[in-house]
């Protein structure tokens, strides 16, 4: 691959902490390798800021392999930037041109309050998971043999596809209602598709939906932006499945 270098202008959201007012700051960054990832470009910006004895930009990141879900960022008005099915850490600077101006903002949602600069608090997702995103089995290891219940490959594959959600929050950030239904739908679906998860399916969907509402996430109006921006391509079908599960559980005697 032929690598080259580009110069970019960055417009970055800066906010000292949760209580202060933020604003967009402008930075010039030159000699950015097109082989760099977007976060490596931000590393370069921070190195420049540190050398100028200024405060570096805070942003969440960790694995840089597109799987931990730490990285976020609204880039030029899109969650995780212009490339579909790509996390910010996997977005590379070859997607940009010399002279580009790039806007970088944090996730925008009431349920994800800003902590500093581009870092937001996504613990609402953890609380939704804690309300029902599990199978209630003890970790004793004394369960039945793993092959005791055959699971049709299609169900296993669909459950896996739903389970590949990385919990980054792009779905919430892209939704005009700040809805978390793609995230919650994916979790509900994973378990609803597997025999192990069916046992407490009614209770699970009720609890998770209740917690989701309490956290202040909005409702789904079928715009589909979440699916478009999801870096893992989680399908809207999961929302439909969650709705079915929810309706079904409303009719159930046990909730």
């Amino acid at each position: 691959m032929a690598s080259k270098f580009i110069n970019v202008t960055l417009k970055v959201w800066r906010q000292k902490n949760a209580d202060s007012k933020g604003n967009i700051e402008t930075y010039q960054l030159s000699k950015v390798s097109t082989d760099s990832s977007f976060l490596e470009m931000l590393d370069q910006l921070n190195e420049q800021l540190i050398n100028e004895k200024e405060a570096p930009v805070a942003f969440d990141h960790d694995c840089r392999e597109g799987i931990c879900g730490s990285c976020s960022l609204y880039i030029d008005g899109r969650a995780h930037g212009p490339q579909t099915q790509t996390t910010t850490c996997q977005l590379h600077m070859r997607s940009f041109n010399d002279g580009d101006t790039i806007y970088i903002e944090p996730w925008r949602s009431k349920a994800f309050p800003i902590i500093k600069d581009l870092v937001v608090d996504r613990s609402a997702f953890d609380r939704v998971q804690q309300s029902g995103g599990f199978v209630s089995v003890n970790t004793s290891g004394n369960t039945m043999d793993a092959n005791a219940i055959p699971i049709p490959k299609a169900d296993a594959d669909n459950a896996f596809n739903a389970a590949t959600c990385i919990g980054c929050g792009a779905c919430v950030a892209s939704c005009k209602n700040s809805s978390a239904m793609l995230f919650v739908g994916a979790k509900v679906s994973q378990y609803a598709l597997l025999p192990q998860g069916k046992v407490e399916a009614n209770k699970r969907v009720q609890n998770m939906v209740r917690q989701m509402d309490e956290e202040g996430f909005g409702n789904c109006t079928n715009t589909g932006a979440c699916e478009v921006e999801c870096p893992k391509g989680i399908s809207l079908e999961n929302i439909a499945r969650m709705n079915r599960e929810f309706l079904k559980s409303n009719l159930s005697s046990e909730k």
Partner: protein, 670 residues
């Protein structure tokens, strides 16, 4: 007598664990809520331990530096998890998994621990399936398996190229359930800064709230460290950016011995280095070696032409390719263990056959063309087309490959901008895993009473080289099935202790010490960033304490690290304040520890005058370049006792390794 007592239970190897479990003391359910346990880290080992202990009824406090426990770096493990289920009817057994692991570790691990690992491996799969982990399945609805390096059976369970993610989310769901029930209290965005000892026992930790910068005191009757490995000492590695040694290093400084620090796994299949601003390296799962063939050109001029862009790999005809693993190791071929594959790649590149146009020309091909053809034919045949044309074969073959490895291929393309379905992947070894770690006895207890260490953070199971798909197995084994028993045995003596105050002088002193170390770093106000030092440390480590080591190189590394460390304390610049979210301060604290650890790794490597597993000393190799072990002199675990910042002052303790169930032999994959 040495201070090392490995506490290996009596009896034949296959009964040790059962006997030990039968004899260990228990804590009655009504007493458990009176006992607090701290777990640091929420990867596979930490999350599974915290979930299990919470479920048993203890009061658990769980800590992670990430914004959520689900982000721990176990999530990035790709290929799979081993278990001796023998679902594939190819002769697997507990003994065979045990044997493969000991041999894979080049006879440098503790037999009893490894046997226990193999013994509980099957339960892990049962447990995970019960938790709703969506493993890959065959059309009959049963679990599928693949093969990994260093073994001749198919015992690896997987979920596409995201097995770590699925297993971690399983453990995270179990942990979440306990958090929801109030049995575990979660402290995310918290970093352990030190351990607190009272009367010699681990009694709590000092943690820093990474959002507010406040130091907090947390007490407990036992502390579990499950903070992962130390591969980031090389700066560039497949570890996450935040992965660090600090929790393990802090307990080392307070009396826990650190074992085999020089055993580092360099993984053969990673995307080669591309530039100076690169922040990390990306792994391409070992599972790809099931389907990919590794080669370099036979002719140096072809390698030159490829690097200059005059030739494409697809233009090199079959006769001009050197499938060097298949050539050197016909019995295992492309599926030799990681250390062997990595050294072989280095050997070819050192000889001038590397194909990557980076500073060092380091890169080899991992080629899927043969597999695409053969699988395409098989699929066509199964669909009733017994004479498929080339287009059909290749189309079906690519689809088969996509199903197996789709996410890896996609990731490769995003990073390199090349399509691995059309042209071979370029790969090169990179730092991936550390077999060394905190020394623990059979109960996973360190030399600090009450301080237990699990997962990659301990040293116990993988010897000098870890086999693929065994890290996930060990993490979950430790957390789900070992610690819950052994920690209870320890805690049975704590039921009368009552709650532990954080107002004692020990907590006060520990907090003050942490506060001072933070302010002294903040006050340096030098001119260079933390990364500047970290990158320089990484280069020293990679060049001199990396894939091949020599006496001369190691001696110079020890000196260079010392000089670098002194410079760090004089010239590092940390912007901002300590009482706010400050990523640079977090990094500086971690790099300060890496600057001590790196030196100890070199000291350990210098002491070990032999080659074994991932530790390759140039002076100790046979005429074919294979490792030469010295069982007479080095069949022991090196466990280092901290004295001061200067690792050359550390004291060496030796745990002799006894092989009773396995006959120690030359490690041969030919």
């Amino acid at each position: 007598m040495s201070i090392l007592d490995s506490k290996i239970p009596e009896g034949p190897i296959d009964q040790k664990w059962t006997n030990h479990k039968n004899q260990m003391k228990l804590v009655a359910p009504n007493n458990r809520p009176k006992i607090d346990v701290i777990v640091v880290g929420t990867g596979l080992a930490g999350a599974s331990a915290a979930a299990s202990l919470g479920e048993m009824g203890y009061n658990v406090k769980s800590f992670c530096f990430q914004d959520s426990p689900r982000r721990a770096h176990s999530i990035a493990a790709q290929g799979g998890i081993n278990a001796a289920k023998n679902y594939q009817n190819d002769g697997d057994s507990t003994y065979r998994l045990f044997y493969d692991t000991i041999k894979g570790g080049d006879y440098r691990s503790r037999e009893s621990n490894v046997y226990r690992l193999a013994e509980v491996s099957a339960n892990i799969i049962d447990q995970c399936v019960a938790q709703g982990v969506p493993f890959a399945r065959e059309y009959g609805g049963l679990l599928d398996n693949r093969s990994f390096g260093g073994v001749q059976v198919r015992r690896t369970f997987y979920a596409a190229g995201q097995t770590g993610q699925q297993l971690l989310l399983g453990a995270y769901s179990a942990l979440s359930r306990q958090i929801g029930l109030g049995r575990v209290k979660m402290y995310n965005r918290h970093e352990m800064m030190d351990i607190v000892k009272v009367e010699g026992k681990a009694r709590g930790i000092i943690a820093r709230n990474l959002v507010t910068g406040k130091l907090e005191r947390h007490s407990a009757h036992a502390v579990v460290i499950a903070s992962g490995g130390y591969g980031n000492v090389y700066f560039l590695s497949t570890n996450a950016m935040g992965s660090n040694v600090s929790a393990a290093w802090k307990i080392h400084k307070k009396g826990a011995l650190f074992a085999n620090p020089c055993y580092v796994q360099i993984h053969p299949t990673c995307i080669p280095v591309h530039g100076t601003n690169q922040s990390k390296l990306t792994l391409m799962s070992e599972s790809l070696r099931n389907s990919g063939r590794i080669w370099v050109p036979k002719k140096k001029e072809d390698a030159d032409a490829i690097r200059n862009g005059q030739l494409k790999p697809t233009q090199i005809v079959e006769e001009d390719r050197d499938y060097y693993l298949e050539r050197r190791y016909p019995a295992f071929g492309n599926l030799v263990p990681r250390d062997v594959a990595s050294r072989a790649a280095k050997e070819r590149c050192d000889e001038g056959f590397g194909i990557e146009a980076n500073d060092t020309n380091e890169g080899v091909y991992l080629d899927f063309a043969s597999e695409i053809k053969s699988k395409g034919k098989q699929v066509a045949y199964a669909q009733g087309d017994h004479n498929p044309n080339e287009d059909t074969t290749i189309r079906l073959g690519k689809k088969w490959v996509e199903e197996k490895y789709g996410n890896l291929f996609q990731m490769y393309q995003q990073i390199t901008d090349e399509n691995p379905y059309e042209t071979p992947m370029k790969i090169y070894p990179a730092v991936h895993y550390t077999m060394g770690g905190v020394w623990v006895d059979y109960n996973l207890q360190s030399t600090i009473p009450g301080c237990f260490v699990a997962g990659e953070a301990n040293f116990s199971d993988h010897g000098a080289n870890r086999l693929g798909a065994s890290a996930l197995m060990q993490g979950l084994a430790d957390g789900y099935f070992v610690l819950p028993y052994t920690i209870a045995n320890y805690l049975s003596n704590e039921i009368r202790t009552g709650s532990i105050s954080t107002e004692s002088k020990e907590f006060e002193e520990a907090e003050m010490e942490v506060a001072e170390s933070i302010s002294s770093l903040m006050e340096v106000k030098g001119d260079k960033s933390v990364d500047h030092f970290h990158k320089r440390l990484g280069l020293i480590m990679w060049n001199k304490v990396g894939m091949s080591r020599s006496e001369l190189g190691l001696k110079s590394a020890i000196e260079e690290i010392k000089v670098l460390r002194e410079e760090f304390y004089k010239d590092v610049f940390i912007p901002g304040e300590s009482n706010e979210m400050n990523a640079e301060l977090e990094k500086a604290m971690r790099v300060a520890d890496l600057l001590e650890l790196g030196q100890l790794m070199a000291v350990d490597a210098l002491n070990r005058n032999e080659s074994c597993g991932g530790h390759f000393r140039e002076e100790y190799q046979d005429e074919e370049g294979e490792t030469l072990r010295d069982d007479k002199k080095f069949k022991y675990v090196s466990a280092w006792e901290y004295k001061d910042r200067e690792a050359t002052n550390s004291a060496l303790h030796k745990e002799d390794l006894k092989y009773e169930a396995i006959k120690i032999a030359e490690r041969n994959y030919k």
